[in-house]
């Protein structure tokens, strides 16, 4: 696949999905009107915003509810795919994903603490801030517990993360099972992941984290490639391996924490989208990362659209859709001949 053309197609797909997402729902808004509303809010002085051709109810539905939700889906998809690609490069393990270091379990625990015990009991933190604080604290804890003589060995990090993740999940499960029945729905809602409660304000943290992470990987893409040939080889190629690994892990953890604290533990995207990108364009991170980021955004937008419409007016949790749609597609892709080149036959 030609990367610039593929990236351009994916970018167009993301924009189109944003508009479709903004137009679909109980309040009827044709896609053209949805596009005009979005442009009208972004570019001042558009005539159709004041000539009465658009209903304030439509404006409300598109700008206040649907667009933030679609943007959060896109940001979360892009962020999780990028964090997954980073993790897979750092620990050189195809099973690596954004949640492998216990970040999502910690965020879940933070959120559930607030839901179950109430905000006042957790230093007045909201669900989002408690989740983010717990995610960052967990990343620091993993790094501290996994380091030995000043180095962070990938295997040690994974095992530390998995162990801490189980610990956090145990706390979460205990809180969930002992709390009032009315809290359980909120807890499950968070743990399964959802973008439905998005506001323009809640988008800021994940979007900022995504931008920072994009800059970090853009600067270090060659180093990430070298890392794939082994630590010794990367050192010989002039890469500061220990420092690069640390920078990438911090980046991926913050990005994951920022996404999970707003959108909950949406599964499957961070594990599979980087693999799909690798099958399509190969292992060079300068090619893989743009495709993974745009592909993650498009995939989660599509998943959210399906989650809202398939069983309307009931919403299916987005994490169920990502797995139901994504797993068969991935299995099909994996069985194609070209997939062998992505290192799947080892």
């Amino acid at each position: 696949m030609h990367v610039p053309i593929g990236s351009a197609l994916l970018a167009v797909a993301v924009l189109a999905l944003l508009v479709v997402s903004a137009s679909v729902g109980t309040v009827d808004v044709p896609p053209g009107d949805a596009a005009r509303l979005i442009i009208g809010h972004l570019v001042p002085g558009m005539p159709w915003m004041h000539d009465g051709s658009l209903d304030p109810l439509q404006d409300q539905a598109v700008w206040r509810f649907r667009l933030p939700r679609a943007l959060l889906a896109a940001t979360a998809g892009a962020g999780l795919a990028l964090a997954g690609a980073i993790m897979q490069a750092v620990v050189r393990n195809p099973l690596a994903e954004p949640y492998i270091l216990g970040v999502s379990s910690a965020a879940g625990m933070g959120a559930v603490l607030v839901i179950v015990l109430g905000s006042a009991a957790v230093a007045g933190l909201t669900v989002h801030t408690a989740a983010f604080t717990a995610a960052v604290a967990a990343s620091v804890l993993v790094a501290v517990l996994a380091q030995k003589r000043g180095t962070l060995a990938p295997t040690r990090m994974i095992l530390t993360g998995v162990a801490l993740g189980s610990l956090f999940s145990a706390v979460t499960s205990y809180l969930t099972i002992t709390t009032d029945a009315q809290n359980v729905y909120s807890v499950l809602f968070f743990l399964l992941g959802s973008v439905s409660a998005a506001t323009m304000g809640s988008l800021a943290a994940p979007a900022a984290a995504l931008a920072v992470a994009a800059v970090v990987v853009a600067v270090n893409a060659r180093g990430m490639n070298a890392l794939m040939s082994g630590e010794e080889s990367a050192t010989a190629l002039g890469v500061r391996v220990v420092r690069l690994r640390l920078v990438l892990l911090v980046t991926a953890s913050l990005l994951t924490g920022a996404v999970v604290s707003v959108a909950g533990g949406i599964g499957f995207v961070g594990l599979v989208v980087p693999h799909v990108a690798r099958i399509l364009v190969g292992g060079d991170h300068r090619r893989l990362l743009p495709i993974a980021v745009l592909g993650g955004a498009a995939f989660l937008l599509l998943a959210d659209l399906l989650a809202r419409t398939v069983a309307a007016p009931t919403e299916v949790p987005i994490g169920i859709v990502t797995a139901l749609v994504g797993a068969p597609f991935f299995l099909w892709l994996m069985r194609r001949d070209g997939a062998a080149q992505a290192g799947l036959d080892r």
Partner: protein, 306 residues
């Protein structure tokens, strides 16, 4: 570029695995680093490409200590061929060779024309142009090693470091690789296991024994029966090739020694002594005169060019 090892000592996990090693690799010459398993050869090599830092002495490239060089700078001077690298990575041969351009580029940009030219040129040079687009995992050991060498060529360092480059190669590919290396004309340090390959293709050999330099000099002077017995614990006789006059070694297990062999084999050779072997520049062997027959010739290292 000249490479100097000056009193290099390396500790790994509290154990001194290399101690007080000094020798010089003159510009453009091929030096073979020999020694038994665990003698510190690879560790000494690693000091040259910055993977390990000596606790004593220093390694200099054209007079500049390696530790003073920034990693990218160092990688533009020293290219490394490791044992069968990157075979597990999901890369094509061309992508693997392009990794050699890592220290020459920055950021996200696509490979520049000069990077591609260097990579294709390097693949051509090692006779692997036809496998450029094939995944590394699908290549034979011979081709993989050629791709590794091509990466080092594309890296464009004047110093070439090879760690057991002929491992897993059949005899034809071993000879081919050594000729390729010699033809490159770079300042080369190669860890080799095959003493005959070293004797035939190296200008100088340096023999490590338990972390210390046991001998250094031209292969004919260094690879004597006494040195081989001490360092590798096998008996050897040196023959001379009638066509080229180059030395050829034949080996036998030390247990199979004949009775008229002058040196009785003992478990304790001079290098077992607690005192480290003296650097080769030392005029007096540190071992006792009684053990002299088994002690290696303290060949002077090649003249240092500063």
């Amino acid at each position: 570029m000249t490479v100097e090892f000056d009193g290099v000592g390396v500790r790994l996990g509290g154990t001194e695995v290399v101690r007080d090693v000094s020798f010089t690799v003159p510009r453009g010459s091929v030096v073979g680093l020999l020694g038994a398993n665990g003698s510190g050869k690879s560790t000494l090599l690693r000091t040259l490409y910055g993977a390990v830092r000596p606790h004593a002495g220093e390694v200099r490239i054209d007079g500049v200590p390696v530790r003073r060089l920034r990693p990218r700078e160092r990688a533009r001077k020293v290219a490394v061929v490791l044992q069968d690298t990157a075979a597990d990575a999901d890369m094509t041969a061309l992508e693997a060779v392009l990794l050699g351009r890592t220290p020459h580029g920055r950021g996200f940009g696509a490979d520049r024309a000069e990077d591609l030219r260097a990579a294709h040129g390097a693949l051509e040079r090692v006779g692997a142009a036809e496998v450029a687009g094939r995944p590394l995992a699908a290549l034979s050991g011979g081709f993989r090693q050629r791709v590794s060498l091509a990466r080092a060529i594309a890296q464009d360092g004047e110093v070439l470091v090879l760690d057991e480059p002929t491992n897993h190669l059949d005899i034809e590919h071993q000879l081919e690789l050594m000729h390729l290396v010699a033809d490159l004309g770079r300042t080369t340090v190669a860890v080799l296991h095959d003493l005959n390959l070293a004797a035939a293709h190296c200008d100088t050999v340096a023999v490590l024994h338990r972390g210390g330099l046991a001998a250094a000099g031209p292969p004919r002077d260094v690879l004597t029966a006494a040195v081989v017995r001490e360092v590798f614990a096998v008996d050897a006789i040196t023959l001379t090739r009638p066509d080229t006059g180059a030395p050829v070694l034949a080996f036998d297990r030390a247990a199979h020694r004949t009775e008229n062999d002058p040196a009785p084999h003992t478990e304790r050779t001079p290098c077992d002594a607690d005192s480290p072997p003296s650097p080769p520049s030392s005029p007096e062997p540190s071992s006792s005169p009684d053990a002299a027959p088994a002690s290696p010739p303290r060949t002077a290292p090649p003249p240092r060019t500063r």
